[in-house]
């Protein structure tokens, strides 16, 4: 069989024009499919920035919360109640909200303010400048150096800003894993300062961050939180909840589905058509092989090998091209939200397998139908 597959390989790659067209078709389709889905994945990842950066195992929230950036304030007793629940190691409050910053040149900039628990500073970012304890200093804020950082006019330790008529001082510069989706710079401070500086409704706790004693306690904690009238979600569940909102509630998912389907159809059309014409061009020779004594299963094996080889090579090239372009884009635009996930790769791979299967099915039908007698008749 090895020799027969090598024969199939040579028949395929030696026809350079057709092989190039086939590869281009698959590569282009894979590139489009992965590019489109990775842009969406990148946007979803940015939408979950706070969940990722804070890193808590369990988040307690109002049942109406759809995404991490749209929190609904909870009364203080929720924090006390959660702290007293069985299986809870500790629980801390988190503030997450928006504010308007007046910069030194008099212009205004919207920012996201994250208020960390005053005692533990749970969820604090890694500092690249300054000391974390300075967050307790008067008017202390930590600025996050991400793609939005320049919007605060590139502050440094000691820079001053005005936040809702309160003086603020940058005491540290931090880095985080993921920057936000909405293009807003992020400032970290203590929970108490956050609720003091930012006008709030009656209830001020955005989330209660919970560390369970063990992962086995999570279902029990969830039950107790639910009995209280709130929801406890793991980090993964909260990210999924946020993703579901963007996929199903915003039309984003439908758009991505349509784009992916178009990419798939383009790839299938180009590759299917080219592969079919490659088979048609060689039909008489396949007939000659049949006459010589090639079994049908060997012919099927040859065609499947050709289709699989083309599909996998095109898939690799498509993934590589997509990764290269995203890398180049991120070099120029740090905010560029595209991320290739295993899920994107799996979707594209599945669709490439479908392209290869459809192309080879059509080709196999044609080749198996040819009668060697037709070769004699000319």
């Amino acid at each position: 069989m090895k020799g027969i597959l090598r024969l199939a390989y040579k028949l395929l790659v030696n026809d350079k024009a057709k092989f190039t067209a086939l590869l281009l078709g698959i590569t282009f389709a894979v590139f489009l499919m992965i590019f489109v889905t990775s842009m969406f994945s990148g946007a979803l990842n940015h939408a979950c920035a706070t969940v990722i950066n804070i890193g808590a195992s369990l988040w307690v929230m109002d049942p109406a919360v759809e995404t991490v950036s749209n929190s609904v304030g909870m009364p203080d007793y929720v924090l006390d109640a959660v702290r007293s629940m069985q299986g809870v190691k500790y629980a801390v409050p988190l503030y997450s909200g928006g504010a308007l910053v007046k910069l030194s040149d008099g212009s205004y900039q919207s920012v996201t303010v994250v208020g960390l628990d005053d005692t533990s500073l749970f969820g604090r970012p890694d500092l690249i400048e300054g000391k974390i304890e300075d967050i307790y200093a008067e008017n202390g804020f930590i600025a996050v150096r991400d793609a939005e950082f320049p919007k605060l006019q590139n502050p440094h330790v000691g820079s001053e800003l005005e936040l809702n008529d309160h003086r603020g001082v940058i005491v540290g510069i931090a880095k985080v894993t993921t920057s936000g989706l909405y293009g807003l710079p992020t400032l970290y401070t203590t929970y108490e300062r956050a609720i003091q500086y930012i006008p709030n409704p009656r209830y001020t706790i955005s989330y209660v961050l919970v560390e369970p004693k063990s992962t086995n306690d999570i279902p029990r904690i969830k039950q107790q939180v639910e009995a209280l009238g709130y929801r406890a979600r793991t980090k993964k569940e909260f990210m999924q909840k946020t993703a579901d909102f963007f996929i199903y509630e915003t039309g984003g998912g439908t758009n991505i589905l349509i784009m992916t389907a178009i990419s798939f159809i383009v790839g299938l059309s180009i590759s299917g058509q080219t592969f079919y014409s490659f088979i048609l061009e060689n039909l008489e020779r396949f007939g000659a092989l049949k006459a010589i004594g090639t079994k049908s299963r060997d012919l099927v094996g040859m065609i499947l090998f050709q289709a699989t080889f083309t599909a996998l090579t095109g898939y690799g090239l498509g993934v590589g091209l997509c990764a290269l372009l995203i890398w180049l884009a991120k070099l120029r635009l740090p905010i560029y939200a595209a991320m290739i996930t295993y899920g994107n790769l799996a979707i594209a791979f599945g669709l490439v397998v479908v392209i290869a299967a459809v192309s080879s099915y059509v080709a196999i039908r044609r080749v198996l139908r040819i009668e060697p007698f037709d070769i004699f008749r000319g």
Binding site: L7, I292, S296, D298, F376
Partner: protein, 231 residues
């Protein structure tokens, strides 16, 4: 090895049904021995190619039997029939049907590769057959770079590489000029035909009749006569 290579008994073959029914073979009986080079001649549409296809296990007859070395080939399963063709029959098609994207040696090696020989061994062996047909120096070239006569010789080398007991040539001179056609058939007669091999040739080119051991004439799907020749 029994001396009878091919025996056809009461072969009938028709195409279509009802008013569209066309009889291609009508009760054809023939016998070909090893060491013979049998020509099947006749006008276009007389059933020559159909007979060749039925005899070589490519086209199933509607009635009758084909015995090759005593084996009823149309009683074999499709896989066994494919194995039979690969092991016993060598084909030289009218249009050669060489693969233009493969080298000449790779084309000749195809039957060997189908017989599951290793690639390198098959190519090495193919080069020996190319040497026999005088084209060893062209082994690396694609067939499209060769003349018509050379391509015909490559097709013969490919047919020979499977070491078949029966060689089938369909209109071998149809695409060649007179001299080249004669040279090819002379070569086949001298170098390919032997006492353990039977060669069937379909042609209506009278210029190459001189190489035949026997000539069978076909007309309207029937064998009308046989002419022995001292080739």
């Amino acid at each position: 090895m029994p001396n009878v290579a091919i025996q056809a008994i009461g072969l009938f073959k028709w195409f279509g049904e009802g008013e569209a029914k066309t009889m291609a073979l009508r009760e054809v009986n023939l016998e070909a021995q090893f060491g013979e080079m049998v020509y099947i001649v006749g006008p276009s549409g007389s059933g020559k190619t159909t007979l060749l296809s039925v005899l070589s296990g490519i086209l199933r007859p509607n009635d009758g039997k084909v015995l090759v070395e005593g084996v009823d080939i149309w009683g074999l399963s499709s896989d066994r029939l494919a194995d039979f063709r690969l092991g016993k029959i060598g084909f030289v098609f009218q249009d050669y049907h060489l693969f233009p994207r493969l080298s000449t040696a790779e084309n000749v090696a195809i039957p060997l590769i189908l017989k599951r020989k290793g690639w390198d061994e098959a190519i090495h062996e193919a080069e020996k057959y190319l040497d026999i047909v005088g084209l060893k120096s062209r082994a690396e070239l694609p067939p499209v770079k060769l003349s018509g006569g050379e391509q015909q010789r490559v097709a013969i080398a490919r047919a020979m590489s499977g070491q078949p007991d029966i060689l089938i040539l369909d209109e071998p001179t149809a695409s060649l000029d007179g001299d080249t056609g004669s040279a090819i058939l002379s070569f086949v007669h001298k170098n390919v035909l032997n006492k353990d091999r039977c060669i069937l040739v379909v042609t209506h080119d009278e210029r190459i009749y001189e190489f035949a051991t026997r000539i069978l004439k076909m007309e309207d799907g029937r064998l009308r006569g046989s002419q022995e020749r001292a080739a």
